[in-house]
């Protein structure tokens, strides 16, 4: 039992972690929390099943297409729902615009794809039982994402430009950085990561339109607990959340697992609003 708690929990946790990173990448670029994070994960699964299982495309082509779609949707998100409301960010209109956009996409999927959870094809026939690819694939994707982002942010000029914008967008603009393009690129990157999360996790979570709200919530929990903008916090938080949820699932039953996660979430946030590893709030006056 403990093996399956660990393998399943870590795998789901990796999907949560990547969704959390998706939130973070968008947040760093624009100070916006976007409801499209869970939508990207949902689409990763649905589009993957569509391309590979239904249309019969080769796995690698389908995979790349899914990532490309993720990037495209990221760009659209930035253009349609973020850029127009960024001027008056203190009114939090982005919460509504991103929610509206995510709902539209979700409804489109529900109508065109269906509201039933559909199976996702087995991609790589390696490993059995607890070493099945559906368990290690999300973990691998998560590790690659984390490593890739570390490399991007620390070793490349573009990555440093991302960091500069995240740190102080005014100063970055004053230095002549193309803030708008970088923001759009960040959203495209977030789109890729979100779609990757959904794609690699879909054999477990299935191609299901309802995954959107599940990933939105459980992907946000590690971000909130680990501190906004902290990818390491999101990964640790995501893995812990996944294992905790699975353990609770096995020991006390699924419903009480979700209730337990929710209660822990609220209590931690009430005690430490800035997250377990986050910094304190900025000045307001």
């Amino acid at each position: 039992m403990w093996e399956s708690i660990a393998s399943y929990g870590l795998a789901v946790g990796a999907v949560y972690a990547m969704t959390g990173i998706t939130y973070n990448v968008m947040y760093s670029a624009s100070r916006v929390f976007s409801f499209t994070a869970g939508m990207l994960g949902m689409l990763g699964g649905v589009l993957g099943a569509l391309f590979i299982a239904r249309w019969g495309l080769p796995v690698i082509v389908g995979f790349l297409l899914v990532l490309a779609c993720g990037a495209l949707i990221g760009v659209v998100t930035e253009l349609v729902t973020v850029r127009p409301v960024l001027k008056s960010i203190e009114q939090h209109l982005y919460v509504l615009s991103t929610l509206a956009f995510a709902l539209m996409v979700q409804q489109l999927v529900a109508i065109k794809w269906g509201t039933d959870a559909q199976p996702f094809p087995r991609l790589i026939p390696i490993g059995e039982g607890l070493l099945d690819q559906k368990f290690w694939l999300p973990l691998l994707a998560c590790a690659l994402t984390m490593g890739g982002l570390e490399f991007l942010y620390r070793r490349t000029l573009v990555g440093r430009a991302f960091l500069a914008i995240a740190e102080d967008s005014y100063a970055a603009r004053a230095l002549g950085l193309p803030e708008q393009h970088l923001r759009m690129a960040s959203y495209a990157l977030a789109g890729v990561i979100g779609a990757l999360a959904g794609f690699t996790g879909a054999e477990m979570l299935l191609a299901f339109f309802g995954n959107q709200s599940i990933l939105n919530f459980y992907g946000f929990v590690p971000v909130a607990l680990g501190g906004m903008g902290s990818n390491r916090g999101a990964v640790i938080g995501g893995l812990v959340l996944g294992v905790f949820q699975q353990a609770a699932n096995f020991l006390v039953g699924g419903i009480f697992a979700s209730v337990a996660v929710f209660v822990v979430f609220i209590i931690v946030l009430l005690l430490r609003p800035e997250g377990l590893a986050g910094a304190s709030l900025a000045r307001r006056v």
Binding site: A100, Q107, I111, F262, I266, P273
Partner: protein, 585 residues
């Protein structure tokens, strides 16, 4: 005045006539749609205070409907205990939803907007999951029968009138709140949170009360909903429904009652007349939401607000009437002194304030000047409790004075203005000024809900005081204009009027002359001087040296968080270091 009142009462009268008269058509299909609209509105009326007024993005409020529906249905059906009377079951649903309204709302008291949106979303998901899994009580996916209310509100038109009456009651109660100092405080929290705190509005307590109220209305709606459905399953409470409630309010417009009511009615009726579109309804709602956010963030209410499109007079002048200040401030003539001793405050490695001593006395204007970054505004923020210093203490009339908790300052009669005016653009000038007197209201939330005499007396006093304060600063002719239509200089004076509403013992002004014309600065100077002569201690942070030396009785010069010099204006003007560091030759 009376004509305007009749005009604003007309839509309500029309709605009431339609509501009362609809059964005459004897169309039961129409009746069911109307009952659904009433029920949805009962929930939305409460949610409107949370979303539209307080600006808290509560997306998953359908959870309150679910809780109320299941509580009423299960208690009435007698699944868990002896069957309850349906009316008692309805009440129990209300109470339980009120409790959960508070629990779900807790994170909003401390957290940012998006966190709260997420917690309500998470809660809605969980409630449905529990309803699905707790088979012994809720019947799981099979569901449970809804209650049947006995005479006089039995199914059919009897139940119709129950829904109508409760919807009317919900409208009346929320309109009372909206029109009270609590409603204004909610809007202040939404649009000018820092100013709300400085006016003594305790955000957690107020929001908690509103969450309880909105939860109770959601539960009430749920109980009625379960009876209307006659059989409830978890499927009846999809997230789509939550989206409908939420969007109805935003389409209607934030800070309005009529707008969201129309929004709810429209969104309830729409799918009935566009049957082929039913599958697409949530998609369309979402598209509508996106369009509204991007194109008309003000919603229907803004489109209908003709009054605020009439052009204002072009060349307006601010003519303060300092002779009214005695009446506005009404001091008992008791002298007060606030003393700061050895205050130190660090931001990381930066010493923003580095051992500051400062005395502020009633009847004096105390100028605080210095180069940018010398700690002037920071000093104001320490006194107003936004920052807690790491070292040092303060005394008020010799008694230790805590330097924290910004919302408690108003109780000490410490008022302030801000470097960039923090007003509620969507509220009228008069309402903005009334915010300043919030803590002087005596009536409780419950009294305001029912508009009891003490509440009406509060409102009268606040309104009179606000008009008087506006007259004193010279802007009474703009009392009914939306604040976002004012010029910059007028906003600065409105902020002073709001501060005067507190009848402050100490008034902290943060660069009140910035952006004003020379003539306006002269009038401002006279006004500030008169305020101090009426017995208030004024601490004035300013860059206009002329104004400072004109009206101050005492001047402190800061540099790098330290006092560079302190004394009378004459002493400062001839102080060698000050001249070389700051004033220039």
């Amino acid at each position: 005045m009376t004509r305007a009142r009749i005009e604003s009462a007309l839509p309500w009268l029309a709605l009431a006539v339609v509501g009362v008269g609809l059964p005459l058509l004897d169309d039961s299909y129409l009746g069911v749609i109307a009952q659904r609209a009433f029920i949805y509105w009962i929930l939305c009326a409460g949610l409107n205070l949370v979303v539209g007024y307080a600006g808290q993005i509560a997306i998953g409020w359908v959870a309150m409907l679910t809780l109320g529906a299941y509580t009423t249905a299960v208690l009435t059906a007698g699944t868990v205990a002896e069957a309850w009377n349906p009316y008692l079951g309805l009440l129990a649903g209300c109470v339980l939803s009120a409790v959960f309204g508070l629990i779900v709302g807790l994170p909003a008291l401390r957290l940012r907007t998006f966190y709260f949106a997420m917690t309500t979303l998470g809660f809605a998901t969980i409630v449905t999951q529990v309803a699905l899994a707790w088979r012994s009580v809720t019947g799981g996916g099979v569901g449970t029968p809804g209650p049947v209310f006995p005479w006089p509100f039995d199914p059919g038109w009897g139940f119709y009138y129950l829904c109508f009456l409760l919807a009317a009651l919900a409208t009346w109660m929320t309109a009372n709140i909206a029109d009270s100092r609590f409603g204004r405080a909610l809007v202040a929290i939404r649009d000018a949170e820092v100013a709300a705190e400085a006016s003594g509005i305790a955000k957690p307590k107020l929001l908690a009360t509103v969450f309880v109220f909105a939860g109770a209305l959601g539960g009430l709606a749920g109980g009625l909903f379960s009876s209307l459905q006659s059989y409830i399953t978890p499927d009846a409470f999809t997230f789509d429904l939550s989206v409908l409630f939420f969007i109805a309010i935003l389409i209607g417009g934030r800070g309005s009652i009529l707008g969201p009511l129309l929004g709810t009615v429209i969104l309830t009726i729409l799918p009935e007349f566009a049957a082929p579109l039913v599958a697409w309804s949530t998609f369309l709602y979402a598209a509508l939401l996106l369009a509204i956010v991007l194109l008309i963030p003000g919603g229907i209410a803004d489109l209908l607000d003709f009054k605020n499109r009439r052009p204002l007079e072009q060349h307006r002048e601010i003519t303060p009437r300092p002779e009214l200040l005695e009446q506005v401030l009404g001091h008992g003539g008791k002298a007060s002194m606030l003393r700061l001793k050895g205050i130190e405050l660090h931001f990381g490695g930066v010493r923003a304030i580095d051992g500051l001593d400062l005395d502020i006395r009633s009847g004096e204007v105390h100028g605080l000047i210095g180069p940018n970054g010398s700690g002037k505004t920071t000093t104001l923020n320490v006194i107003s409790g936004y920052y807690t210093p790491s070292e040092g203490a303060a005394e008020l009339n010799g008694v230790p004075f805590p330097l924290r908790a910004a919302h408690t300052r108003a109780g000490y009669r410490i008022a302030r203005t801000f470097q960039t005016p923090r007003l509620i653009g969507a509220a009228s000038v008069l309402q903005n000024v009334m915010i300043g007197g919030t803590i002087d209201g005596a009536a409780t939330f419950a009294e305001a809900v029912l508009t009891l005499p003490r509440h009406r007396r509060d409102e009268r006093h606040l309104k009179d005081a606000a008009r008087l304060a506006l007259a004193a600063i010279g802007l009474e002719q703009l009392a009914d204009v939306r604040a976002d239509r004012l010029q910059h200089s007028e906003l600065r004076f409105v902020e002073i009027a709001r501060a005067l509403m507190l009848r402050p013992t100490f008034l902290l002004l943060d660069e009140p002359a910035a952006g004003l014309s020379a003539e306006e600065i002269r009038r401002l100077g006279a006004l500030i001087k008169a305020i101090s002569r009426a017995g208030t201690a004024v601490l004035l942070v300013e860059h206009h040296a002329d104004l400072i030396f004109d009206i101050c009785d005492r001047v402190t010069v800061l540099n790098l968080g330290k006092v560079l010099a302190a004394g009378t204006p004459e002493e400062i003007r001839s102080h060698r270091e000050v001249v070389s560091a700051y004033l220039g030759a």
